[in-house]
């Protein structure tokens, strides 16, 4: 896939430079990394992939990473298949992000069963703006 095949609405990229976009397209760019979490871009669909663990030591990574994600047709896609641990503060960050999308939707792909259970029992599973998807996610 060449750079010319990528359709990106550059003007909603929130200030991302074309260099960053090309970097992301070619290298599946890493946009956040700490000792327990890595966040990378995905291409099909455009979005982010979270791999590792989120707790209060790195909850800030969620809004930070999401600020660099694309919203297309009102949807932001997150691959969380590799999110082997996420505490309540992390879930809360995703909930906050979903609620601030101004009518849009945050789509969670591959949410681990335990996280689904945690969201159910803590009262965060019945939201229009935070959607738990059953589909697969391809990574660019």
């Amino acid at each position: 896939m060449g750079v010319a095949d990528i359709r990106v609405d550059f003007w909603t990229g929130r200030g991302d430079s074309i260099d960053d976009l090309v970097e992301a397209a070619i290298r599946g760019g890493r946009i956040y990394a700490d000792k327990q979490l890595v966040v990378t871009r995905t291409l099909a669909p455009y979005g982010l992939c979270f791999s590792g663990e989120i707790d209060i030591t790195n909850t800030h990574a969620v809004p930070l990473a999401l600020s660099m994600a694309f919203v297309r047709n009102g949807e932001m896609h997150l691959d969380v298949t590799g999110l082997i641990f996420c505490d309540i503060s992390g879930i809360r960050s995703f909930v906050d992000a979903a609620e601030s999308m101004d009518g849009g939707r945050l789509m969670l792909h591959g949410l681990p069963a335990l996280l689904q259970k945690v969201m159910n029992v803590t009262g965060w599973s019945d939201m229009d703006s935070l959607v738990i998807c059953r589909c697969g996610v391809e990574q660019g």
């Binding site: 707790d55 505490d87 309540i88 335990l114 259970k117 945690v118 009262g123 965060w124």
Partner: protein, 332 residues
């Protein structure tokens, strides 16, 4: 049972019974009176007693809600949320309700018994200032120790025994019902791990719990849930308990037990049994621990807080209520 005028406030009443006939005499007229008055009735009992009550109530049974105490109250801290949901859903128009709940029976472990007794006191705190409803708590005086019956008299404002019903002379009162709970927590059997932790050590806490629980034979699902719960308790210690604490893990025949101690104190005795409101800032950690774990023990000592989480090691250790022997046909 004497016919009663409508109650004006929450009535928490212990029914002391000996044998099936007294159980029936104390519960069936209570239920029938509620059904006749159009009051929603929920009975949380053993399956055995539910079956017997259905037979005794006949046609009236259709108007009564039943729930299995072994499901609802395996972890006693889940009982108050269940009652709260009943009162909120069925009593929304301000009408009175009735309930029967028997959380204590012979066969509860010593740890569970203490938590059930704490639950009984906390019922007064949870519902003492709310809408009027009548909760009858049966206690089997034949099978339970005298000390358990004495405590029932302290946690219930009213006591019914035989045909006598009235206020308990030894009720501890609403304020004492919610006082900090400081019944001692003695050390357990075989310790399989202990560490101190600070703000940067949550991953270490999780790994230790996961590794030790797995090594002790706990299945992967319960291990992950225990790890999730302990992470929330440790997070509370870091945020509110002085910046950290100590973790200990014990392996027992029936369960893996993890404990976190910190130097904090918290003031809401119902913190772990209030369903979180949708607002983001509502605390959820201890609530989550109660949904994931088989038993949660919380103590507020003078020098800090202790939280112990129990995860049963297998289905053979799940709570069951052993049915008693009973007569072939109960009397109405």
């Amino acid at each position: 049972m004497p016919s009663s005028s409508p109650i004006e406030k929450f009535r928490h009443e212990a029914l002391l019974y000996s044998g099936w006939a007294e159980f029936v005499a104390g519960t069936v007229p209570f239920i029938r009176e509620g059904v006749k008055a159009g009051e929603p009735v929920l009975v949380v009992e053993s399956l055995d007693k539910i079956e017997m009550l259905r037979v005794a109530l006949g046609g009236d049974a259709g108007a009564v809600l039943f729930a299995d105490m072994a499901e609802v109250g395996a972890n006693p801290a889940r009982i108050i949320p269940a009652w709260h949901e009943f009162v909120t859903r069925q009593g929304s128009s301000g009408r009175r309700l009735r309930g029967i709940g028997e959380p204590i029976w012979k066969g509860r472990s010593a740890d569970e018994l203490i938590e059930c007794q704490r639950h009984e006191s906390l019922l007064n705190v949870a519902f003492g200032h709310g809408q009027p409803w009548w909760l009858l708590c049966p206690y089997d005086t034949e099978k339970l120790d005298g000390s358990v019956i004495d405590e029932a008299r302290r946690s219930h404002e009213y006591v019914m025994e035989g045909s006598e019903a009235g206020q308990s002379d030894t009720f501890r009162g609403l304020e004492a019902s919610g006082a900090p709970f400081d019944v001692p927590l003695p050390d357990r059997g075989t310790s399989i791990g202990a560490i101190q932790f600070g703000p940067d050590d949550l991953a270490s806490v999780r790994y230790m719990v996961a590794r030790q629980a797995d090594a002790s034979g706990l299945d992967s699902g319960p291990t992950q849930e225990l790890m999730t719960a302990i992470n929330e308790v440790a997070t509370n210690s870091i945020r509110h308990g002085g910046g950290g604490g100590s973790l200990r893990i014990w392996q027992e025949d029936a369960a893996v037990v993890c404990e976190i101690r910190d130097s904090g104190r918290f003031s809401n005795p119902l913190a772990d049994r209030q369903r979180p409101a949708p607002v983001h800032t509502a605390p959820r950690g201890l609530w989550l621990a109660n949904q994931l774990c088989d038993l949660v023990q919380i103590r507020n000592f003078v020098d800090g807080t202790v939280v112990r989480l129990h995860m049963r090691r297998g289905p053979q250790h799940r709570l069951t209520i052993v049915p008693d022997e009973r007569p072939a046909a109960p009397n109405n």
